[in-house]
Amino acid sequence: MIPAAFDYTAPSTVDEAVRALVAGGEDAKAIAGGQSLLPVLRLRLAAPTLVVDLSRLTELAGVHDDGDSLLIGALTTHHEVQRDPHVREHAALLRLATDTVADPQIRHRGTLGGALAHADPAGDLLAPVLALDAVLRCTGPAGTREVPAAEFFTDYFTTALEPGELLTHVRVPKLTGWGARYEKFSRVAQAWSIVAVAAAVKVVDGVVEQARVALTNMGPTPVRARGVEEALTGEPATAEAIRAAAARAAEGTDPVTDGNADAEYRTHLARVLTERAVTAAVSDA
């Protein structure tokens, strides 16, 4: 498990990093925590000739309170997300999902930006970011732009990032006082999700005022369960209503069959886990 040889550079500003990536062209790869990239390199599934280390871009670290939203630097580690008081208060869903990622060692190195840029359909942070209507700030040779999460994930391991472009920040609108739950189903604690459901609900006087539900690993990209959201909104937060809504969880999904589960079972799990996630989110609200 020895990667092919590569050159290495560790720029200290976003501009320098973008320049290095542009200069390296197709053969250049950014590295953040390395928790997804290094396995890829070691298995020689990719062999970039230049690796651009982002770890010195201190401007991309940490969580900032920015009025109606939180601005989370792409280099913020999973561990920092878990510990951050702003995230806890205003984006509980993101914290709950981050709690389920891998193990403490990996969470101390892996970054939110890396997880989103890697865009593994089984990754646990994509669905929450989608459910939270986050906006992803990207900087490249053509300048800076903001991409809604719904447009960022385009296919298996593929995002809207252009060549030479970096993900710099994730803007997460505050959902203060909402109930949240990330219901992950995996075979062993450290494994990736077979299916998972991210749910956040605002309940007022026993009625679901707003609901956000998104699914992990039910297709090439995370899927927003709009049917479930629709069915829940305006309804009393009862077991029957939740069950009826959850029955719509698999609408618009396209699950794969792989070594862990076939599509039929994933479809079934999506419904069961949605019911559980929403039920837990409601009692958390």
Partner: protein
């Protein structure tokens, strides 16, 4: 005088070796760096069955740092055939087993080319530049298909995929009645087919080999559990005079049988180092390890029990198909045969017939994996005992009670011909039932069933015994195994009274250094700290049969006792001479020799010095107190126990969660309870993993799709329950320590306990079996099938 000292044996001593093993401050094979050392990397076949039409190395040899690129053709003349030490029948078919494929590959992962370079990185890069052309041949993967008429053949030259058929019949052997007749006449017959999935040993330290060819004799370091066997076999296979080859197993990080092997990579590293006259190292990656290290299990078991309505079993029949993989490695064919003696388990079955057909497939060879044959046997019998209990409507524990050997019936000769020396199944079971809260859990189960709870509770029972302490050499001979089963120990008493103990066992994580020190400390009355245990180097420990089959303590530990007794006997002679009395009048306690009934005494230290300086020894007594002993057991040892498992099955998702797990093992006398506890925990984890998590999966082309630890799921501590463990103690009669062996017990007993619990949780919903591993999806599908 000396206060009564607490005996060492029985103490939960912290393991002497752990500080260095855990911190890594030791010489793992891959840590070895010799001056001028080169690096070997091997290219592996991506296809499972093909003719090699060309291997183009021209690009690769030109790359920087590359010294040599070798193909099968280059090494064909010298590589010989990898050894199989266990030809189970006279007419067993065994194809030649090359270390590097010459013109045909028979499994994905087989070596097809080798690169020697100055650095591991350069060697790895060069692999990518080698171009191999393959012409695909039909791939044989499925056991049943492999033995069907007209099947594609793994080795067309052999004309069949069947390597051998081995039969045991109690009527023919004179150990019991006719099982076929018993089944024909039975009031109740239950038959099931169980699948033992393929498992990967997944030891923590990957395999690694370093060879220093030396000017006139070679040294080979390997992460192996069998340095002595390895030296013997390498010299036999390669024609290297045995005295010109030294094999060292330094500290080794786990094996579980996976390092009980003579590997292609050991042969190749040795060949290449000798060819170039330079030290060479090969270390595998995790994926290589999973692709090419031997696998375990992989059997299809058809098992039939005949019984009376009262639950008395009248006959047992077992038909196995055992997957050998593409070649026969060291003991590949013998693994299912080790199980043959264990299907009758703890029971007094009157008639038994066992048939095993060993089958070739285009997969990596199988071989020993923790328990080797015995877990498979225990699984099948314990699963079907639960099925029979359900069929008869009796409690599964009660059914076992009606059939097991009672404690007052030992020694007991079984229908398979083994004589169990001691045991007390009643005591272990009673204790387990008490710790488990069996009746309360049954009541809760009834409640959940009545309430149609989405989470159902299941209770699994597993009683077991195993044959350990491998093995009486005569028995091995009768089974056509190519070596003996004795073990050797030597004790060197140094002039200052410190002791070096040399053992022929080869620990790779078990804690022999600590346990052997405890034994010697007690026997010789020296402090635990004063004993140094040496092992694993054929130049230091020149005789040994190494470590596997829960043999090290029962056989190797006994050799230690015998050697210590010889030291003492000689010391007594010397002491008597110096104290001018008869040796019969000398009493030895806690390191002191005293003349009975007098105040005259000498310490062991004084006797050691006297023996060493030899100024005044009795006539005919050689200087020094060193002694050695070799022990060949008359019988196996038979640990046993009762394991009880409660699972909760989420019927909506199919997920199985172990709620409680109780095991009461009887491993005889215990030298170090902490080590025993550790072995039990590790064994349980591995056995539970077979039940719920692990499976080597191949796609239809024969490629292993579980070749990383992200795909081959090993449970971690959070995936396992809190274990409640206890012991009963029925000392073995077959060795002076009274020990039985504990290395495999947990693995053997736990797998059926868990699967029985899963099926028990769902039986009322129509489920009668769930194939292993019981993944959530399989459980969910079984439920849907069952309820339909």
């Amino acid at each position: 005088m000396t206060a009564a000292v607490e005996p060492e044996v029985g103490r939960a001593r912290r393991r002497k070796e752990d500080a260095r093993l855990i911190t890594g401050a030791t010489r793992w094979t891959d840590n070895i760096r010799l001056p001028g050392m080169l690096h070997l990397a091997v290219l592996r076949s991506p296809v499972a069955h093909a003719r090699i039409t060309s291997v183009d190395t021209t690009e690769a040899v030109r790359l920087p740092g590359v010294l040599e690129v070798l193909t099968g053709a280059d090494l064909a003349a010298e590589q010989g055939s990898l050894p199989c030490a266990w030809p189970i029948t006279e007419d067993m078919l065994a194809p030649p087993a090359p270390s590097i494929a010459v013109d045909e590959v028979n499994f994905a992962g087989e070596v097809v080319a080798a690169v020697v370079a100055r650095t591991p990185e350069e060697a790895q890069d060069a692999l990518a530049a080698i171009d191999v052309d393959y012409e695909d041949l039909p791939v044989v993967l499925d056991l049943t298909a492999a033995v069907a008429d007209g099947a594609d053949l793994v080795h067309p030259d052999l004309g069949t995929n069947k390597s051998a058929t081995w039969v045991f019949d109690s009527a023919e052997a004179g150990t019991g009645g006719d099982a076929t007749a018993a089944i024909a006449e039975a009031e109740v017959v239950v038959e099931r087919t169980f699948r033992q999935q393929r498992l990967i040993p997944a030891f923590m330290e990957p395999r690694s080999v370093v060879v220093d060819p030396g000017p006139d004799s070679a040294t080979l370091w390997s992460a192996t559990q069998v340095p002595h066997i390895l030296r013997w076999m390498l010299s036999a296979v390669l024609g290297i005079p045995e005295h010109k080859l030294r094999v060292i197993a330094p500290d080794v990080g786990g094996g579980f049988g996976g390092k009980l092997q003579v590997t292609p990579e050991e042969v190749l590293t040795l060949l290449v180092a000798r060819r170039l006259g330079k030290p060479v190292k090969w270390t595998e990656s995790r994926t290589e390890s999973m692709l090419s290290g031997h696998h375990g299990r992989d059997q299809l078991q058809r098992i039939t029990v005949a019984a009376r309505r009262d639950g008395t079993v009248t006959g047992l029949k077992v038909d196995l198909l055992a997957d050998m993989g593409a070649y026969l490695r060291l003991i590949t064919p013998g693994v299912p045969i080790l199980g043959a003696f264990m299907y009758n388990a703890i029971y007094k079955f009157p008639a038994y017939r066992f048939t095993c057909t060993n089958v070739f497939t285009n997969k990596v060879p199988t071989d020993a994996y923790r328990g080797a044959g015995r877990p498979e046997a225990t699984f099948a019998i314990e699963r079907i005992m639960d099925e029979l209990a359900a069929e008869l409507g009796v409690d599964p524990l009660e059914l076992r009670r009606r059939n097991w050997i009672r404690h007052d019936e030992f020694p007991f000769t079984t229908v398979a011909g083994l004589t169990y020396d001691t045991g007390d199944y009643e005591a272990a079971t009673a204790r387990a039932v008490e710790l488990f809260g069996y009746d309360e859990l049954r009541a809760e189960q009834a409640r959940r069933r009545a309430d149609h709870d989405t989470v159902q509770l299941g209770i699994g029972v597993s009683t077991y015994t195993e044959m350990c302490g491998l093995a009486p050499s005569r028995v091995l001979g009768a089974l056509r195994y190519g070596a003996g089963g004795w073990e050797h120990a030597a004790i060197r008493v140094l002039p200052t009274g410190k002791v070096e103990l040399i053992t022929g066992t080869s620990p790779h994580g078990q804690g022999h250094v600590t346990a052997w020190s405890q034994i010697v400390a007690d026997r010789l009355g020296v402090p635990f700290e004063d004993v140094e245990v040496l092992h694993g180097d054929t130049r230091v420990a020149h005789r040994g049969m190494d470590s596997y089959g829960s043999r090290s303590l029962a056989v190797g530990g006994t050799a230690v006792v015998l050697a210590a007794d010889k030291v003492l006997a000689k010391a007594r002679t010397v002491a008597a001479h110096l104290m001018e009395c008869s040796p019969d009048d000398v009493e030895f306690t806690a390191g002191t020799f005293a003349v009975r009934g007098t105040a005259t005494s000498m310490s062991l230290g004084e006797v050691v010095v006297a023996a060493h300086v030899a100024h005044n020894l009795p006539d005919g007594v050689e200087p020094g107190l060193d002694a050695e002993a070799t022990f060949d057991p008359d019988n196996f040892s038979y640990p046993h126990g009762t394991h009880l498992c409660a699972v909760e099955v989420d019927t909506e998702t199919g997920r199985v969660v172990i709620r409680s797990y109780v095991c009461v093992d009887d491993v005889g006398k215990v030298v170090n309870p902490m080590i025993v506890e550790g072995q039990v925990h590790g064994g349980l984890a591995q056995g539970i993993a077979q039940a719920l998590f692990e499976e080597a999966v191949h796609d239809e082309g024969g490629t292993l799709t579980t070749a990383t630890l992200a795909d081959y799921l090993l449970p971690s501590a959070v995936d396992l329950p809190w274990f409640t463990t206890d012991r009963t103690e029925t000392p073995a009669d077959t060795n002076p320590l009274g020990v039985k062996g504990v290395g495999e017990a947990g693995t053997i007993a736990s797998t059926p306990a868990v699967v029985n619990a899963v099926v028990d949780a769902l039986r009322h919903l129509g489920v009668r079996d769930v194939e292993m591993p019981c993944t959530p999806m399989r459980v969910w599908k079984a439920l849907r099938g069952g309820a339909a």
